[in-house]
Symmetry: C2
Subunit: 230 residues, 2 copies
């Protein structure tokens, strides 16, 4: 669109010409052609971040697990489903990215085997052995060069403790932490309230607001930090 061309041509925008990868949605880990394990992610926070980065001039690639949301305008869209397919899509684009925002809710576990046909009910219980998925954020942190790496922590308890551990152990530049047990916060809501953690900085709280506003604020904080580092 004309609007997209205007944004792309505006060299005054803070993310002009930069590649930003955003992941969104909840990955689906299949047991068989019909059943899968997933989580509450609606994709709204990631999609809002993709749109916000685009408005700041970035070349955005949105790597998305299935959601009910329309594809954002002016954004390259890569459809994935499982954590494994999301990981592949990310690693293929990581070297060329200036910023990576891991807003997706990536499943920690998957079934090591996926049945070719629908598993039939049995009379007894069903024993499922799940195996741990690769830790994508940790991998990206280990391979980090120039990239500004933003992770998310969604917790129901000990939020800041877990988020601080994540910041350090994953070598992320920023962790956006939200307490998904709070009302109107996180998964599936149109609003969010988060705490931003960065090393050597006090936690910054972003109070309850629409996910669009929270997305803009997250990027503002990230840009301010990157300026300090540069």
């Amino acid at each position: 669109t004309v609007n997209d061309q205007l944004i792309a041509a505006d060299t005054s925008l803070p993310l002009h010409g930069q590649s930003v990868l955003v992941t969104a949605g909840g990955t689906r880990e299949r047991l068989d052609p019909v059943r899968y394990l997933t989580n509450n992610s609606s994709g709204k926070m990631g999609y809002a971040l993709a749109t916000a980065a685009r408005k700041l001039g970035a070349k955005v690639t949105l790597i998305s697990a299935p959601t009910a949301l329309p594809q954002p305008a002016g954004v390259a869209y890569v459809a994935v489903d499982s954590a494994a397919t999301m990981r592949t899509a990310l690693l293929a684009r990581y070297a060329d990215a200036q910023m990576v925002i891991m807003a997706a809710a990536v499943a920690d576990f998957r079934s090591p085997t996926v049945a070719a046909n629908k598993i039939k009910k049995t009379a007894t219980d069903y024993q499922l052995t799940l195996t741990k998925n690769p830790d994508i954020l940790a991998e990206l942190g280990q391979q980090k060069h120039h990239q500004f790496l933003i992770g998310f922590a969604a917790e129901t308890q000990n939020l800041l403790t877990y988020a601080q551990q994540k910041l350090t152990s994953k070598h992320a530049d920023m962790i956006v932490a939200n307490d998904v047990s709070s009302p109107q916060v996180g998964f599936d809501h149109d609003t969010n309230a988060v705490t931003i953690l960065q090393s050597n900085q006090a936690p910054q709280q972003l109070p309850l607001a629409s996910k669009e506003v929270i997305a803009q604020q997250i990027l503002q904080v990230a840009l301010a930090t990157r300026k300090l580092q540069a």
Copy 2:
């Protein structure tokens, strides 16, 4: 709306004044506040059936697991999530229903315990023991009086064999069978192709069409059968 009032008042419609229960969507079986086990159901077939029954004059109650679809007009809507909540909603309304259409994809298994907080990743594999859910269709079949009971069978192999077993063992009046491994059929598609099984009748195939058209055809077959029985 005026249109709803006109439909409700039209005594010539074949389902005038009759209560029809429709289930839709894929149930969600929680492991913790964040993770759940579910299936590919989009809810489209059930929502199309609810709308089609409404247009035939029925008082429709749509008992729906979470979907991305808007609530159909002129239909009472009951939001549920797990198989257990869907079962409760159905049993409370079963005695007063003339027709029950079980289009939902009800999970066969659930976690017997739901963790109060998000389960943290461990270094090892994660062992999950799932327990069998109550067989809602079988329960409704056992308690059947005057109700016309329609079940669905979604399979990836041996479709008609499994569907025929379901018809008999669940005491359903009709099984709508679809091969979800076929292209453009079943879960998440806007089109469907099904085979209708009824006792003492040859299978009837409804070739590929929109789910709206398939819904109308299913109800036509059901009404024709009920007329024969009466």
